[in-house]
């Protein structure tokens, strides 16, 4: 066994950094007692989700003492925590901070901001512009924040960059409850993540929070998925739980030997074709095309 992962499926206090730091300290203690090597918290775990104009009050630089202190408390345990990162130029981002051996080792800024339905992120924060698998002492790990994971291109990029484990931090609330026990959006999540794990032969550590904010009830059910799409460990709906599971990277190798999708991915071809499509999607290009089609008809 290579890595014992803990998913902190916790409640948080909206807008209260100090209270949330205390919650993190408590879950770090619990995780240590369970022998966890790498503890993952949900999206925006240091701040709560529905921040709106609080974004400016809660933003932190990557040298913020709260991050350093958490990294130190964790000692040998690695952490992934969520917060609002502020750049030197004072732009704010939804971020995953990866902390290892007392330091901030990697930051992923959320690329795909959810701004539809009950979400309005793009009004309050900027979008990240890079997708890089982190080099960690546990190997290459990809970080994806909530909506990022609904874009297969982002997850694929992380895996092509060498990730064998993708950490997904989320704050997903109940949407469209129907006949089943799970809301429709939760079903889509489960299906999507399982497809990634199975298709690419990777581990996925999905950590979703519980509790509620302004009537949005976060559904939890955090899960560690293995390279066959199996649920190595899974949490309950709506209740707090430390979900713990083992990652065995040898299984990633086995899965990719029998299903070498990533090996065969034609990156240059995809880049070339996407470049062509991107150019053809400009307004000028589509007007040119329309004009030439008209010309052809005459």
């Amino acid at each position: 066994m290579d890595l014992r992962i803990g998913l902190a499926q916790c409640k948080l206090k909206l807008g209260d950094l100090e209270a949330n730091v205390a919650i993190h300290e408590e879950w770090i203690r619990r995780a240590r007692a369970s022998g966890v090597d790498f503890l993952v918290f949900p999206e925006l775990s240091l701040t709560g989700y529905l921040l709106q104009d609080m974004v400016g009050d809660l933003a932190m630089g990557i040298d913020d003492p709260h991050l350093k202190n958490l990294a130190r408390s964790a000692k040998d345990m690695s952490l992934c925590v969520g917060g609002i990162e502020e750049s030197e130029g004072h732009a704010q981002y939804i971020a995953s901070f990866y902390l290892e051996q007392g330091k901030v080792k990697h930051v992923h800024r959320k690329v795909y901001l959810a701004s539809y339905g009950v979400f309005d992120e793009a009004r309050f924060v900027g979008a990240g512009s890079s997708v890089v698998a982190a080099r960690t002492r546990h190997g290459r790990i990809g970080f994806s924040i909530c909506e990022d994971s609904w874009h297969p291109s982002l997850v694929t990029t992380l895996l092509l960059d060498g990730a064998q484990l993708v950490v997904v931090q989320t704050a997903s609330p109940v949407r469209d409850l129907r006949e089943g026990e799970m809301p429709q959006n939760a079903r889509t999540w489960v299906d999507t993540l399982r497809t990634y794990a199975r298709l690419y032969g990777c581990y996925i550590a999905f950590c979703n929070r519980v509790g509620s904010e302004d009537g949005l009830v976060f559904w939890g059910r955090s899960v560690l998925l293995g390279p066959d799409g199996e649920e190595v460990a899974v949490g309950p709906l709506y209740e707090e739980e430390l979900v713990v599971g083992e990652v065995d990277f040898e299984r990633v190798r086995q899965a990719r030997l029998s299903n070498p999708i990533l090996r065969d991915e034609k990156i240059e071809l995809t880049c070339r074709e996407l470049g062509r499509i991107a150019a053809s999607r400009s307004l000028a290009a589509s007007l040119d095309e329309a004009a030439s089609e008209q010309g052809d008809g005459e």
Binding site: L50, L177, R178, G180, E181, S212, Y238
Partner: protein, 294 residues
């Protein structure tokens, strides 16, 4: 919950008031109760309260809210306020008392007749709409006074059908801190109430605001809940356009009437408008969640 039945055994019972099939409005009710209860608990405790109160009319909406509240906070933390007017049907108070006894919650009787009559003694020309609105707002002031006195949060009892059609009195029955049934259509209120075994007497009677003798919602609205709920679900939840609604068999008159009721009552679903002058204006670009607390 104490009186919950096995969910599979109760599916057949989870129909609308007259036993209509709920179709797409059918939910897994145990799952729905979990979500409603989790949201209710967090919003109330987050605001610093552990007790709740509500106006219990004897009708199904407030019976359901009382049941969810007792389930979430324990019967000892729920106060039901019975606020009849002299013209209210005696049956309403009886049914409210039946709910109080069934749930074992505390209740308080506040007859609103003296204050309502004192006001209209000076306005004898007032029609029944004015009188009904006054009663609803009188009840609101009592609930908010008791909220302060008892350190309990006011729960709302408006369902999604009423909210969308604007079938409520602004700052009256529409006023509350947290509303656990505001995303359930009336047909779903019936089904969930059956599932939670709310007494048949309450579930089976014709819904009424009980502002005057013989009033029923469906007569007053001129539409049946079972049909309007299906229509609202298509329009609101599925964003179906007019052509699609017509194809699905809805009458054009009903579509137009529901559209006009929804648009005409939008003001009831929003805070008052503020005219902008400054850099940041409270209702426009001063954006914080309701749960914003330092």
């Amino acid at each position: 919950m104490k009186r919950r039945r096995d969910s599979s055994a109760s599916l057949a019972q989870d129909a609308g008031r007259n036993g209509e099939s709920l179709g797409v409005l059918q939910l897994q009710w145990d799952a729905a109760v979990k979500v409603l209860s989790a949201g209710l608990r967090q919003e109330v405790t987050r605001a610093g309260f552990s007790k709740v109160l509500l106006g219990l009319s004897g009708g199904i909406d407030s019976a359901l809210v009382a049941t969810l509240a007792a389930h979430t906070f324990g019967a000892e933390n729920v106060l039901a306020v019975l606020m009849p007017y002299s013209s209210s049907s005696p049956e309403s108070v009886e049914h409210a008392r039946l709910m109080v006894d069934t749930l074992g919650i505390e209740s308080q009787l506040e007859d609103i007749t003296p204050q309502v009559d004192a006001y209209f003694a000076n306005h004898p020309e007032a029609d029944r709409t004015r009188r009904g609105n006054k009663m609803a707002r009188e009840r609101m002031t009592i609930l908010y006074d008791l909220s302060q006195a008892r350190h309990a949060l006011v729960l709302g009892t408006s369902n999604k059908t009423e909210l969308l059609l604007g079938y409520s009195t602004i700052f009256g029955d529409s006023a509350s801190a947290v509303n656990p049934i505001g995303d359930l259509y009336k047909s779903q209120v019936f089904a969930l109430s059956r599932h939670l075994q709310i007494p048949e007497l309450i579930v089976n009677k014709a819904p009424s605001a009980d502002l005057w003798q013989g009033q029923t919602d469906e007569d007053e609205l001129g539409m049946k809940y079972a049909e309007v709920d299906r229509l609202l679900h298509e329009m609101v939840d599925r964003r179906q356009r007019r052509e699609g609604l017509l194809r699905a068999g809805f009458e054009p008159e009903l579509i137009d009437r529901v559209n006009s009721l929804m648009k005409g009552s939008q003001y009831k679903r929003k805070m008052p408008v503020i005219v902008k002058l400054s850099n940041r204006t409270v209702d426009k670009d001063f954006l914080y969640p309701r749960d914003w607390m330092g």
